[in-house]
Symmetry: C2
Subunit: 159 residues, 2 copies
């Protein structure tokens, strides 16, 4: 049974907050966000193929990746404002299907002790409409499934 | 007499929109945002000294600059999500006095014909409180004075 995902999307504001705990040390959770060979194994919904074009998870770095679901391809890109290992990443995020609609995301990695980690993600969209559209397009599904895949990856890592 | 600055900061939302027209071609207005030697001559309130640490106004670039007002120093930094000359820049923005409070800004450059340009800036803050604090800290003053200095720079450029 996986840990719950808490998604908060306040009415009339352009924010989404996502909180999830993991049964793994903060270093392992961070590594799974930093190393493209690991990211590729969990990010996004089940059944999607992920192709990484560029992935530089460091301050000033850039990333671009594609998700494929059958014939459909979804490309995403952004730049990394700051990445402090095992602590925080703040980056921009653009789905190339809506060019120039760019949000900013932070991921905070919190060591809960006992080999457990809390991850708090916060996305700020350029408009309330863009935020609503992200919710309507099934973001929750992708997040929940992605984090279940991340659980599996972290469990395999510990054995 | 300079053109008016229209600043819109809707109640209860983390946005600021700034619209200003310039009596100069879009290429000149863009260049004044792209070339650090020009930026240094106008960005910020009158009487401030600006020191540029890094200034790469291109997709994936980074910038960092300092404003000095007597003994006080204010440092700012960010990364450039996209820069398309004479069209748009989208970048992050952080005042180092409030670390990790990062907003995202877009600047749209619009050719109005007849050697005139409209600049539309939109800032999205990570919280409504951060937006309110920017307003309370005299942002309007800096913007109005900075754009008057930019008018002077553009006028000198055309003669």
């Amino acid at each position: 049974m996986s840990n719950p995902v808490t998604i908060t999307a306040p009415d009339g504001l352009p924010f989404i907050e996502i909180v999830r705990e993991f049964e793994a040390p903060v270093q392992a959770v961070y590594r799974a966000h930093e190393d493209p060979a690991l990211v590729q194994q969990w990010l996004g919904p089940k059944g999607y193929e992920m192709e990484i074009d560029q992935f530089e998870m460091r301050t000033g770095g850039r990333y671009r990746y594609l998700h494929r679901d059958g014939d459909a391809t979804y490309a995403f890109n952004g730049v990394v404002h700051v990445a402090r290992p095992n602590e925080v990443v703040i980056q921009t995020f653009e789905w190339e299907g809506a060019p120039d609609v760019v949000s900013i995301e932070s991921q905070t990695f919190e060591d809960l002790g006992g080999g457990r980690t809390r991850l708090t993600g916060r996305s700020v969209f350029p408009s309330v409409e863009a935020r609503d559209s992200m919710i309507d397009n099934g973001m929750e599904h992708g997040v929940v499934e992605g984090y279940e895949r991340l659980d599996d990856l972290l469990a395999a890592d510990q054995h």
